[in-house]
Amino acid sequence: MIKIFKAKKILTMNPAQPEAEYVAVRYGTILGAGSLDALKGWGEHEIDETFADKVIMPGFVEGHAHTMEGTLWRHVYCGYFDRMDPDGKIWPGIKSKEGVLERLKEAEQQLDDPDTPLPGWQLDPIYFDNVRITRQDLDEVSSTRPIGVLHASGHIMNVNSKALELGGFLKPGLNHPGIPLGKDGLPEGELRGPDVMTPVGIHVGFGRDMLDCDERGLRDFGKLCVRAGVTTVTDLAARLQEDSVDMMLRITGEDRFPACVVPLRFFHGLTPKELVDHAESLLGQSTQRLRLGRIKIVSDGSIQGFTARMRAPGYYNGAPNGLWYVAPDQMAEIYDLALERGLQVHTHTNGDEATQLAIETLENALKKHPVPNHRFTLQHCQLADAAQLRRMAGLGMCVNFFSNHTFYWGDEHYRLTVGPERAERMNACASALENGIPMAIHSDAPITPLGPLFTAWCAVNRITASGRVQGAHERISVEDALRTITLGAAYTLKMDGEVGSIEAGKRADFAILEDDPTTVDPMALKDVPVWGTVQGGRIFSTADL
């Protein structure tokens, strides 16, 4: 059955015909784009006018996200910025501590059983002068049920007295930098660092398997994809245990699951050999909507948490250098083995020292295993300087910048973490393109919201939350940004042959937009409404989710 979709405009990302009016689809595959005359020759068809007044783009590809966002939406949203949930409801951002407590109280009143935990997420007190939420504040919400509010960073949590009690922390004498104490010698209720969060977190609904999404979470994540125009999405740090792979196969295989999910095997807790063996063994289980067999390494921490590995001159505020999360020799072994077996590795590097290590390690590994077309990708790579980018280009590496950072934490980087000069060149999109480095840009959802058009807006405008342009020279054009969120990201996943553009033979994955992102004011790019998506020829309207 051939269906020919008519659109107001189709932005194909195919340089041979950048724009078209019709696209023909058969069994989920694109037969071609172009004029109706050109497409009629395929034979008997039906013309679908659903998108006659819409703009069609290739389905967006999010190259760095985590499906756990789907699960987080079952908790109370406490973020500073407006954010849309899987059902399309926009939760207004909360601008004060009082507001946070107010929202928690509203959610509390919905709960009957006085023992049910109340988890919240996405708190970011830097936007309200770092006012700390104490256990006493949260006790006003409830003293009977455990309450815990996770920060946007994912590394800090504020809890009430009940939660502290259940976790065994409501006692004097604790002596740990991650557990600030009040005047009474008891914890104030803020818990910093994953280790400290664990004993209490399990009682407030943040269990140890937080990285893994559950069934409903994955379905909800699918809905978020449709709302953001995303048809291919990574789950960038998955442990991929047997039951979780089975679950993902089952859910993504459902008739109405709307995206192709690409989970990367997280390196932690395995030797290089076990890791590579496991990733390789998963390859054969890949389906149309679940792509397995890639590896993710995390080499350092975060810049705003001062745990990223920095080269001289280090942190602007004088903080000591951050932490390695992988031993250099271990990274080298993983790179060697992965190249040998033809597996792709994505490496999280935030600080420029981590980036340097990854570059040097790959350079050495490639001398031993000169694998063409490896497409090893640096994820975040926020502080890479010009020389590092040139060297990455020379090695055939790809990059996936965290462009959303410029908006959400750009002001912090400017005044606190790395200082003005390096803040201006963070997430250097223009330099990367100039060097011909295959590039993607990302949200790292749930750290920031899934939304490639917003991410593109960040790369195009480089506006911080306070409204300053930070690093004007690294801004890129709207056209470049749109290619980056489609074909660019697909390239970093070695999927550019099947998605990322609207061309004959590719999967019929479309983002359906209400407006033309190439003609709106670049400052309005983030506001272009998404009607829905087409994934593998199946239509998903945000209105029907």
Binding site: G173, L174, T198, R239, G269, T271, W324, P328, E353
Partner: protein, 294 residues
């Protein structure tokens, strides 16, 4: 800090960069556990060469070993693994956490401090005598190595057989300068008496002293029987002076006051406190042998 109480499980953290011998040490401890039920927590199972005949059962995260020892992998979440361990019956006598090669052992110790049911026994960091100075000047690693050393109570200067005396002296001095708080013990193949590595479990009854004492290559163990009351403090001080290569001593003496006292020596540090009921006089000394003179 939690006050250690008798029911707390002692935890020893084993740190050190890749190749320093952490896995070798863990296996050495397992092979010499001598009835002590050890729980070994490793980051991953990968290279743990446990003899097949020792393994009783195996599942994804837990290996049960002969003699009641177990080995678990903690992967991403050490705190969760320790919490699970604290629910285990029967309780292991001593927990050994093998840190990853770039972990800062002090932060693991920090986590132990807030966990009920555990208390820190010590941080033992291994270094490879042959490569330490090179690693310590590596652009990427130097600060991590220094942080590991400065967190340690004990540094096992391992693989001393691989280098000559002058080079060994240089490494030893370098460590002493950068980690003055730590006791440095030279080893080959990470062979160290259990009583040295796991401090809380050097307990012994003086009746069985000789059978409980392990004979570990590179170390010399002596048992001193004591007949008369002594001045515990001056006796301990004299032991330290008379035995320049003493790494550990523990025993009981009847003080001139008539009270039984426990004498413990770790390196050059002497600790004297009231002895438990019913012990007999006697001291076990563990010294290093064949140390090149410095």
């Amino acid at each position: 800090m939690n006050t250690p109480d008798k029911t707390d499980q002692p935890i020893t953290i084993i740190g050190g960069y890749l190749g320093a011998g952490k896995t070798t040490l863990v296996n050495h401890l397992l092979r010499n556990a001598n009835g002590l039920k050890l729980a070994i927590l490793v980051n991953e199972f990968g290279e743990l060469p446990i003899d097949a005949d020792l393994i009783e059962a195996e599942d994804d995260n837990l290996i049960s070993l002969a003699g009641g020892c177990i080995c678990c992998s903690y992967g991403n979440d050490m705190v969760a693994a320790l919490m699970e361990l604290s629910q285990m019956h029967p309780k292991p006598d001593h927990v050994v956490v093998e840190a990853s090669g770039v972990a800062i052992p002090g932060s693991i110790a920090g986590s132990v401090s807030f966990l009920d049911g555990f208390s820190l026994d010590g941080i033992l960091t291994l270094v490879d005598a042959y490569t330490l100075l090179e690693k310590a000047s590596d652009t990427y690693l130097s600060d991590t190595i220094l942080r590991q050393l400065s967190d340690s109570n004990i540094i096992l200067l391992n693989k001393v057989d691989l280098i000559g005396a002058p080079a060994l002296e240089e490494v030893q001095n370098w460590i002493a300068e950068h980690a003055p708080q730590a006791q440095i013990i030279q080893t080959q193949n990470a062979k160290v008496p259990l009583a040295v590595a796991l401090q809380r479990h050097d307990s012994f009854s003086t009746e069985h002293a000789s059978s409980q004492v392990q004979h570990i290559e590179g170390f010399e163990t002596e048992f001193l029987s004591i007949e008369k009351p002594v001045d515990a403090y001056s006796y301990g001080t004299k032991l330290i002076a008379k035995h320049p290569h003493l790494v550990r001593a523990k025993g009981f003496v009847r003080d001139v006051s008539g009270m039984m006292k426990t004498i413990q020596i770790v390196g050059k540090r002497l600790d004297i406190h009231d002895a438990p009921q019913g012990v007999k006089q006697g001291i076990v000394l563990i010294s290093q042998k064949n140390i090149p003179s410095m």
